[in-house]
Symmetry: D4
Subunit: 146 residues, 8 copies
């Protein structure tokens, strides 16, 4: 059995690398998907494809067309979602991708530091599992294959 996993979360640290490397070391039959990690590219993709937009709102709408398209396709191809809320927990897209996963009945592993338990309590209760580090998420993933 192979699993496709969408890694939702902030794009400012290398947390995805930790999970990918450990999964590879364990030879887990998994494929990882995620958002565009180049923040500027992600914000500019609308104008990159369609040309300069009228104002910032239009620029954002254009970029969101392509980012939503990408996220939706990758999420649909995924069997499982791992959502990380890191240090700075104001991660809108992560909250929205995680909620979408739950609503679509895709299992969700939530990674959040202990100190942010309050803001994420509702999501945590809906997720299949709540852990505190990428390493713990990886262990949960490994357990599926044992």
């Amino acid at each position: 059995m192979e699993l496709s996993i969408y890694l939702a979360g902030e794009i400012h640290s290398s947390w995805r690398d930790e999970i990918k490397e450990k999964a590879a070391a364990l030879k887990l039959p998994v494929t990882f998907y995620g958002p565009m990690e180049d923040h500027d590219r992600s914000d500019n993709i609308g104008e990159e494809i369609l040309g300069k937009q009228h104002d910032a709102v239009a620029k954002d709408a254009a970029a969101s067309s392509f980012n939503n398209l990408r996220t939706e396709l990758l999420l649909k191809k995924s069997d499982l979602v791992i959502a990380l809320f890191g240090e700075k927990y104001k991660q809108w897209n992560t909250a929205m991708d995680a909620s979408t996963a739950v609503a679509l009945n895709k299992p969700l592993i939530l990674i959040r530091p202990h100190e942010h338990h309050h803001a994420l309590k509702e999501l945590s209760r809906k997720a299949h599992a709540t852990v505190e580090t990428p390493d713990q998420a990886l262990k949960a993933l490994k357990y599926i294959f044992e």
Copy 2:
């Protein structure tokens, strides 16, 4: 035709009252649902029903059981979701309820002030309509019945 509408959003202002009053004045055949607006009650409902919990995380998990149950039932009974992101836009539950609505194919009207367009750009593109004030949302609602 009657519509049931879930009003997702912060519970610190009376924005829901504005919509409910205007809808009533127009005699729109609508029913409104929403979260528990008493913030302390919402946070304490777990311990209120089950008794004192071990620690803050356990207290939150217990409360979330009942709040998630309530939200899910009300969301399921709703035909439409109106989600408001107000002044302080870090509203986790609102983002998650709005994303859930979209994932469940329930039409969504997003209310957000112009200055927060960037953080909400992805959700805005997925919503059926994006407006800036409760009054505009009410106009969109009224238009459905004309």
Copy 3:
């Protein structure tokens, strides 16, 4: 049993009145929904609610937010769709609403003049019934209740 019926089609003639009057005369337990029939209102609703938009494309996008929201809610409330393609058959919205009905497994009665059979052949084959006049559609509707 009561049926809710969405009448999709051009908004320049009174074809809906014929169906509504005949249904009322027969006391059929039906409710009819349809698009905004005031063409200017339909085109302007975006700017009416949100204010002047940047250009014609933005104006159209804004209006479409509210018209799509309306159509989707009414279509969801409907058990059956009757789509009329009249004299001038270039009716985009009608084609799209009719296709949406079929895709959502909502029964469809297609009304089209004989001379436009070619352009509508694929849709006709997918519809439950193809008739040529509103009166025939009404007879099909009446038959359901006999």
Copy 4:
């Protein structure tokens, strides 16, 4: 990850070739499907298989059996739909295939020239992304894989 893509649109130009060639040059892991591009074959397939039909309407119904079967199967196998509305925008099948995609929750990229924004405004608002040329659609597709 591999994607299957249905290219809906007129069959009188070679726009599909542009997309296929560029995708191949970029080695994108995609498969393309589309309608029968031989217009006469598409119109005659009913009589080709079943023999001469009674009249033009019957001929069209027979052909539509097989064309609808083909389209439905290919659409079901597709993860994404790209719909092009070209110069002469009166493309019924394209409008219907695009609406079907949206109704079935399959992401849609709409390609339409700027001057036809008005007739396609509702569909544009529902599509994930609206672009103006096949090349832009290809860029959106490429972005998914980056």
Copy 5:
């Protein structure tokens, strides 16, 4: 609680009356639907609405448009299907309506005389309950409300 029940089966005897009368006598909160019981009307409805058709096949296709439309709507409105296979068990429509019910996850009570158990063995295994008379079906229905 109220239940809507589709009575599928031959239209040559008054078996439906037995069930309806007994249900009424017991004051069960149920509504019954069924096919057009006037056999000639059922066969002729296509030509009645659309006019004389080219040949018998076309006549049948036209009639089936309206009968399928009726059956589908009534079946969709039903919570439960009771399918009777009577003396002459070659009842195509009954077999097809019963299979459709099972495929749509609508509970099915199958009424068939003992001597026809072999031809109906697959359907019987899929139905929720298999009985031999309308009276037994009525008892099963009554049991739901106790």
Copy 6:
């Protein structure tokens, strides 16, 4: 808003009465459904309707036809399931009804005494809320309407 609630659980005590009485006292707009509480009737309903069966297995299969039909219809009509595992927790039907509710995405409140937490741990994690007494379940229900 009204809610229909299926009370799954053992039929040897009057725990359902406690919930129904308290709900009535609070005037909650709810309707309760449940299994046949007369144990002998439940076991004998197959033979009661169909006559004596060949052996105990056949008798059980016949009874299960009618009990499954009843349970499925009532469960489908329910918005929420409350499942009680009482003193003697070997309650097969309760476990199965509760699991069915979760699989069908119907919210579940699980009532179980503390000492049986181990056997019910998986179900508890999937339920929306786990409480220990019918009174606590009633409080959770009341909270939905506040």
Copy 7:
């Protein structure tokens, strides 16, 4: 693209061979499934696995367990169903498998001789295409891949 196709129909002639051979000759990327073609095996499989049953009805129920299991799994794995009604058209299982396909939104090609159009009129109207010979069905299949 590969297609899996369920061939529903009588098991007394070699009509499936004709379709399989022609498909192989054309190198169509298809896989064919069908029922157990050994009639005695199909009727006896219940007793073969479970041992002698009490009577003919029990024998049939046991066999149907395994035949329904097989049919359902194969049908689920299929993208398309081809249902043949041959000379003696009293083919219950075929009617039921074909109706199930339609109810599950699986495209259906119906093969029936012209003289049986009346009994199969409703199914014919629901099928994607109606043809008269296996060879025509094969042509429809081939057309999908062109």
Copy 8:
């Protein structure tokens, strides 16, 4: 065609080995999934990943997170479920996994000794087939491929 099969049942005997070995000997194109068979590991996985929990209930909840995640993913990947109720039939997880399979429309083969027919009567009636030994289940599986 390949089938993925989830083997639900007690983890104290080697009944799964019997099925796997026989399937391998017959070269059936099947893949088997099942729960974590190391009972202690299964109970301790929560603390293994997250660290010591507050009490037994918390320990169970943590373990269930990961076990539910595993079971759900494997069940989703499965086409068929075989559920065994062995000697000691108080197998909660088996009952719940089997019910979940039925609710999700996944075919179910139930293996139970004759003497436990009464407790499992409802599930037996809902399963596609009920057998008494793993060997019989294997025969049913083999029959699908013939």
